[in-house]
Symmetry: C2
Subunit: 178 residues, 2 copies
Amino acid sequence: MERLRIVFSGSGGQGVITAAIILGEAAVLHNGLNAVQSQSYGPEARGGATRADIIISDSTIYFPKANQPNLLVCLTQESYVKYNPAIRPGGMLLTDSRYVTVQKKVDARQWELPMYETIMDKIKNPIVLNICMLGAVVALTEVVEPESVLKVLADRIPPAFLDINNQAFELGMDLMKA
Amino acid sequence: MERLRIVFSGSGGQGVITAAIILGEAAVLHNGLNAVQSQSYGPEARGGATRADIIISDSTIYFPKANQPNLLVCLTQESYVKYNPAIRPGGMLLTDSRYVTVQKKVDARQWELPMYETIMDKIKNPIVLNICMLGAVVALTEVVEPESVLKVLADRIPPAFLDINNQAFELGMDLMKA
């Protein structure tokens, strides 16, 4: 397995850190992989762009920052502008089509998915946008089994919110496959 | 300001990652510091010991793992046995007196606080043990203002649970000061 470096970016409150933690747990607890997850806060965090890094591998990971990510996800224009220059040549870029207008071509395969619109249309609750994004990422990368994420959700999400999280995850998978 | 390297350790579900994220946000958003927060998952995570690292500094942080932490917090015996040899000589060790029996002396100042017992006695809900621990850490290190943590809690915690989180934080501060 190639080492996969992923960056989830957006604004505070969009749940990108939570999504990264869930993906790391799914990889380790249910797929037998190693994962390192981190966030750096600094002057730029105060500006509003939040970033969560995750590296997944079947071997030991020594350095936890995902410099030159294979996959960059952007849920806001600001995070797109800030982080897209760092994407690895030939890598993957996933953006939300409501929040991000892709301004110039980078050397990456690009997916613009209506994640926010779909969530608001079907679930009417923006809180699960991060889990919809996670569904799209899992369908795109196949880095973990979808069932592994569903197990982590069942362990971590309060029962009253589990249904909408599962639904958001499936919607994200469907958007990517369509 | 000296760079502060902190490790929170315990078992899955005790909320040590959440506590580390809250501390990092408090330091950056409300105290003008820099912070890096990370978790590594690997074979040892599958064994049950969870660990979250956080480094706080007023200057740039290049390496995100808190090797030789200045402060190690242990909420389970397993995490204590595993991580206490790594503590920086002359550092600080904080343990929960219900979950951890300190077995041998390390070169560290040690605090054994009845955090779990106090939470169960006063709040009757183990879910806020991590926030009580955070209160003790803030009182011990004074790395951030208590008000900075309370602001992050107000932003992150659902309204129905905010009161018990604030209460747990104050209980942890009081335990450390007593």
